[in-house]
Subunit: 529 residues, 2 copies
């Protein structure tokens, strides 16, 4: 395969080119010479080495270019187009809505991920039993992202108001629409939290705007095209506000995939186009509007006190039926954004993936020999974790003890680019830093130094080392000199590292029973968040 | 001119079709029949009357369709494309930067509008003498909009950090870039407030990304096209964040106008395209990147304590030179959005326009006869305002007295659609409600009722009415009945209306000297905000 030179170089994974903690590049594209070329490339032992005309050398996992070729299986873009989403009709939820109980959502990261994934995939999810108290909707938004303040405030009350500046604040029916199309950037998420709903009527409705747009594309492709290419002026003005945005009703990406829908006749201003284009636009718009009203597209349900609906405001249209003023209907709403929700979901999935990978290592590679000791690597680490736990150590010390030798795994699961040297404490700590704070990673980083330290300050300690450990002590640099030992104790994680080291040394008992990795998983999950 | 029927009807200005307070439509496009047609249209007295096939009748100002025809002079879209902006090079600011003093900005709405207009037009403005205290940057953002919270927090500190998760938090030079391209919606505004800057180096730079893109379009149109149609994956990940957005480096609107620029090599992820497309993208990207580095495009200046830079983050690239750690450099930054800034500017301009229109009326039409009294309309209203002021009345009563008869103006300046009936108190109050709160509008609305009330409860009051006022009393319904009078006093604005009424009645002294309208302008401006 012919490789694009600048593309390959722009993706060089070395620590000089890229910050390993956040993947941010440390060079500018203009730092590369204008005649950059590959001088030599060599593949072996799973690594593709590239020598560049400017003297730089890069090493990629051998499979890297193929994995990233066009059309290859990769992350689904930014998750914002119709691709990978479930475009639905009401019947798809005959078995129930995507919902979760608030307490479970908070306590269980799997449940939390499922709720966020439902918003990403189906455009909405419903949280039940959210305390029906004022301002609670802000807490829901903050559980996965950031509140977007607007001219309606940090939050807004949806109830009948004496002098409403918006139809929402009356008891009238509201046809399916998206909110705030006159804002750019438009808020991409909306939350509606029901505090009270004992009026007759006032049921909620949702329509999948992506599905409606896809139906339009299927039934009238030319109308679909008109709506994607006609900028529509949306306007809102009251005494303190004058918002204006010109955006198409249906926005597609460069590949023609549906990406955003804005739909709200209340705020469409005056288009300025030749009469025939106006006719074409209004014909297409009216057809699309009629599709959004098809009963089979409209999911209807009733929000009760404590229900909080989270939905995609650049995809789903929301509606409500009229209600009588024989009771009270009071929702509190706020806006937030999809990018932070997607980030929270990705981090939850990444953490679950990391725990899965660790579990696999403990149950696979970890069953291998541990540097000449009488226990396997997995047994050794599980014993260390169990010893810390039995000693009543705090969570971060249990985790550090359990994971202190993770740098010994050869990296098939961890994909450590730099995992092949013998600085296993640093390798392990660096990998763990993707998931855990310094209270976990620093004792891991220092656990080898702690051994050299203890050998220097505690003669009886060295006498108790196992034969293998005595051997590696020499490789590791031998006992510390006095000044080295003083510097070590000054390090913030030193005391914890010494504690981990003692459990490490004791965790070499052949056949000692230990809990399985799964036992430690909830503890690790807590430390990750 | 042939009129597009649905377009015309969708813009019907009648109160049944459109909420006069916020311009929001009260019908759905699907409420209109499928065979809607114009049955008859008639033009006369400046009004275009349209009779519709469904029986509805609309009345538009006669010039309305022409004013809104394609290509007509209208508001410049949403102010977000290159159209109407000043695309600049550094030399354009040889005479100085667009800047204002913080205290003046706060006190003077004209200065505030100038600052916001500079951000809209040139992409940035500089506020001087903003108190150099922590969190003050949030107050600057709130002076025109809303703070956008991100993974960096509500605000972020730009200074050297021991364990930076971003190059910004080091002392290294940073090449011109936009922030947060991996967010969608990306924050469209950034603020940087300097608290301290006594290090050697650390100067600021700005590049107009729209100008750079326009240069690329001119010098290499095909490269420009490549950058507008290639979605680029931007990525940021750290322990608690995983943000991803796929957007082109240069975004254009349907008419091909430059609308947004995202530029940040640090966070460009791996594009997945065929090798020849990758080569084309990287060639175009490198050409664009080189343009952004041309010295003539880069405006360089130094932020000192108290300086706060506000800039368009989807247009301007910002940069800084490296600095030595021989002193301290500490900025606080936050994000906000262009839509709210544009709204604040539009409202300021609208208010200034309303005051200009009022001033013109007082100095033009207002010089005409006042219903058979010995004073002109303008003299009458200025006298009423002056009497209220002399009596030490609060601002809102001075304003209500000054403006109580504004509904008498026939509307050439006010463009009151419904300004031709004889309910001048309501007409005036409704128009004023666009600018003023109920404390001003309700006394105006009730000043005719107050006369009828006073005639009912205070026999001596009626005896003192002028001849013309006694005549109009009959037209207005005569003195109130007892139950009407009781209902009147229950109204929240009744007492104020009675006070206004008394100044109204006294304000008919031929030749009495009064201040000019301009005297009242600062008071009106205060009440508007």
């Amino acid at each position: 395969m012919a490789l694009s030179a600048y593309w390959l170089r722009d993706n060089c994974p070395c620590a000089e080119c890229r910050d390993p903690r956040n993947g941010q590049k440390l060079f500018q594209i203009t730092d590369l010479p204008g005649d950059l070329a590959i001088v030599a490339q060599r593949e072996g032992e799973g690594v593709l080495e590239v020598h560049w005309s400017d003297g730089h050398r890069s090493a990629y996992p051998a499979e890297w270019p193929d994995e990233r070729a066009e059309g290859s299986e990769g992350p689904e873009g930014d998750g914002r187009t119709e691709q990978g989403k479930r475009l639905w009709t009401a019947a798809d939820f005959a078995g129930g809505l995507p919902e979760a109980d608030w307490a479970t959502y908070l306590a269980d990261s799997g449940e939390r991920a499922a709720v966020l994934a439902a918003v990403q995939r189906s455009g909405f999810a419903l949280l039940r039993d959210v305390p029906a108290v004022e301002r609670q909707v802000l807490e829901v938004a903050r559980s996965f992202g950031y509140v977007r303040e607007t001219n309606y405030g940090e939050l807004f009350d949806v109830r009948v108001e004496p002098d409403p500046n918006n139809l929402a604040f009356t008891s009238a029916a509201i046809a399916p629409h998206t909110d705030n199309p006159y804002r750019d950037p438009v808020p991409t998420l909306q939350l509606l939290h029901c505090l009270r709903n004992d009026s007759t009527g006032g049921d909620s409705g949702l329509v999948d705007g992506f599905r409606a747009a896809a139906v339009l594309r299927e039934e009238a492709p030319e109308d679909f095209a008109v709506l994607t290419r006609t900028p529509v002026p949306f306007v809102f003005r009251d005494r303190t506000t004058e918002l204006r945005a010109e955006r198409p009703l249906i926005e597609v990406d460069a590949a023609g995939r549906i990406r955003e829908v804005r739909f709200n006749n209340r705020s469409i201003g005056t288009l300025r186009l030749p009469a025939e284009q106006l006719d074409a636009f209004y014909a297409a718009y009216r057809r699309f509007a009629r599709i959004t009203l098809r009963p089979e597209l409209r999911l209807t349900f009733r929000l009760g006190p404590g229900d909080c609906l989270i939905f995609d405001n650049v995809r789903l249209l929301h509606a409500r039926t009229a209600f009588e003023q024989d009771g009270h209907r009071h929702l509190q709403g706020c806006y937030a954004d999809l990018d932070s929700l997607a980030s929270s979901l990705a981090v939850l999935n990444r953490r679950a993936g990391a725990l899965d990978a660790l579990e696999e290592l403990f149950e696979g590679e970890g069953l291998g020999e541990y540097l000449g000791e009488a226990v396997t690597m997995a047994e050794h680490m599980l014993q260390a974790g169990a010893l810390a736990e039995a000693a009543g150590a705090s969570d971060h010390l249990v985790a550090a003890s359990l994971l202190h030798d993770v740098g010994h795994f050869d990296g098939s699961g961890l994909k450590l680019m730099q995992g092949r040297d013998n600085r296993h404490s640093h390798t392990g700590a660096d990998w763990l830093a993707r998931w855990f704070g310094p209270e976990v990673t620093e004792p891991v980083r220092l656990h080898v130094a702690a051994k050299r330290y203890l050998c220097a300050v505690e003669p009886s300690y060295r006498a108790g080392l196992s034969e293998a450990s005595e051997y590696t002590l020499q490789v590791q640099g031998g006992p510390m000199e006095a000044d080295e030992a003083a510097a070590f104790t000054a390090h913030p994680g030193a005391e914890d590292a010494v504690a981990v080291r003692r459990w490490d040394d004791q965790a070499k008992v052949a056949g000692a029973p230990t809990p399985a990795f799964a036992h430690f998983r909830p503890l690790l999950e807590r430390l990750m968040s």
